[in-house]
Amino acid sequence: MIEAVGLTKRYGAKTAVYNLSFQVRPGAVTGFLGPNGSGKSTTMRMILGLDQPTSGHVTIGGHPFRQLPNAPRQVGALLDAKAVHGGRSARNHLLSLAQLAGIPARRVDEVLGVVGLQDVAKRRSKGFSLGMGQRLGIAAALLGDPQVLLFDEPVNGLDPEGILWVRNLMKKLASEGRTVFVSSHLMSEMALTADHLIVIGRGQLLADMSVKDFISANSADFARVRTPQTAPEQREKLTGVLTEAGGQVLSEPDGAMRVTGLALPRISDLAHDADVRLWELSPHQASLEEAYMRMTQAAVDYRSTEDQLAGLQQPVPPGYAPPQPVIPEVPQQGWYAPPPPGQNPYAGAPAAAPVAPQAAPAVPPAAAPAPAPAAAPDLTKRENDEDAR
């Protein structure tokens, strides 16, 4: 159990974390989300007593970290994969940490096996890749078999196999009743790993709720309904019936209908009563990525701008007007969460979108995060992406 109360950290004039209060409970994986520079790592360091909070306090199991008896046996942490002396071998690094807590040397070989580094145990960590460094850091966290585990961006630099392994490891640790606190900026990863979410932006708490609540609180669920393309009159009929029953119906570019405000069984019943055949009736839930983007849009510190390449332009001879770069009129907002129906200015006029619906989604480069390695939420995201156009 980690408990933060009114945690505030100022570096000179810059406030990194402001009045942050939350609890991290045992038996669940708690995801700690926020854009770059939102104060995640600072908070992690304060939990570990490395940074002193300007005000407020944070305790682990009721004790401030610095007063914990035998801290390595109670709290394991991965803060920075590269925070090892490069000239020391992986095994010796872990051995020096093990000796602090009176952990026998054979436990070192055990955790090296757990993270899959037994073959490079004698090699200097200087030559390790980022992924190997992450594994070494995770090994150090697991060393004391602690009840509380903190991981700062554990999947950075890991290959897909490693990501899957970390995901399962977190879940297993939580299922054993441990407190697992994982920071990440990869939403799709957290959707698969975390049970509970704490979201911060600009050092302030934005959300503290379960993953499920988070998604439904931050996005609109909708049903996609498709009628036979051969019978447009059925489509009009169904639209009328659904609107009459209190639903909102929007057209999608490929001819499907997006229905909100009605449960799936009710839509089916109404269609049956109206004698309309359905080719598709599917529930859609916004992905965590979308919900998160929507929430933190206002709290992003480092936002990229369009690269105008102005500094590379040749001086223009007088009298010659260079062609202006054409910026495609892609609706910026459409890439994020699907806006609640009725409020989307683009949904009603799909023909105006310059990109063909079947084309690969050309996401605006300005807002594109690294593609998430996990496939599942990514697919839903792209699907909605196309739908929104």
């Binding site: 570990l48 390595p72 709290v75 925070a83 002396h85 490069g86 020391r88 071998s89 051995l95 602090l100």
Partner: protein, 259 residues
């Protein structure tokens, strides 16, 4: 609480598993012994050219430690790296997450490194002495002579204290490069130059290396050196004050500042 023996054991593992430990300590020993031996041999060859006053105050013990001017720099590097690499690698955060007690962590680390530096320092000192005396031929002295044993053991203490002082400075500055950039020029150039400049040498006398080096002299005014206002043990005491100040400063920094 992380127990002190556990931290000491861990720090011993840390210090013996990096190659910088062996090469800095080995070069401290080799450079000092080799340079001292060379100067002893030179002194024997040119002894007849010395002025009568210089011959009268000839200090065969002190001359056999003359390589320490260069050898102490390797000790400085050793001391700085032991503490500084924790910061430059980021290991400090891992270490302090495992040992939240700042004093236990810092002083265990320093104790292990200082003990090692002292052992190497004493070995250096005795080797330099015996090799130097062998090369001095008829001008030699022996361990049994007045104050000679004190000077030889003092040479080892001096090396250890130089390393200890460097660790304190590195803990204060939290950076290997910065600490080396200050300490190496200080010991190798500034202190040596100022001790030869009139007026400035009145201050330079109280520098840690100038004061501490007096413990190695058997003849107080040997080879034109100035007579100091303190004795050999007084000089070592001055050096100890410097070391204590550096260590207290280093402790306050690690205690107060965010890691």
């Amino acid at each position: 609480m992380a127990s002190v023996p556990a931290v000491l054991q861990s720090e011993w593992t840390k210090i013996r598993t990096v190659s910088s430990t062996s090469w800095t300590l080995a070069s401290a020993l080799l450079v000092t012994v080799a340079m001292s031996a060379a100067l002893c041999a030179l002194m024997k060859a040119t002894f007849d050219e010395l002025s009568p006053a210089e011959r009268a105050t000839f200090d065969p013990t002190f001359i056999s430690f003359s390589g320490m001017i260069l050898g102490q720099l390797a000790m400085v590097v050793f001391g700085v790296l032991v503490v500084g690499t924790e910061y430059s690698s980021g290991m400090i955060r891992t270490s302090l997450a495992a040992v939240p007690q700042r004093a236990t962590f810092l002083f265990s680390k320093i104790a292990v490194a200082a003990a090692l530096a002292l052992v190497v320092g004493l070995a250096t000192s005795f080797l330099s002495f015996f090799l130097g005396q062998a090369l001095l031929g008829e001008h030699r002295t022996t361990l049994g002579a007045d104050n000679v044993l004190r000077a030889v053991i003092g040479g080892g203490l001096y090396m250890g204290l130089i390393a200890l002082f460097s660790m304190g400075v590195a803990a204060m500055l939290r950076s290997s490069m910065l600490s080396l950039g200050i300490l190496v020029p200080f010991f190798f150039l500034i202190s040596q130059i100022l001790s030869a400049v009139p007026k400035a040498k009145e201050v330079a006398k109280y520098f840690p290396d100038q004061a501490g080096a007096k413990i190695m002299q058997v003849v107080p005014e040997a080879l034109n050196t100035e007579k100091a206002p303190y004795g050999p043990w007084g000089g070592l005491g001055i050096m100890l004050i410097w070391v204590a100040a550096a260590l207290v400063g280093g402790y306050l920094v690690i205690k107060k500042r965010d890691a």
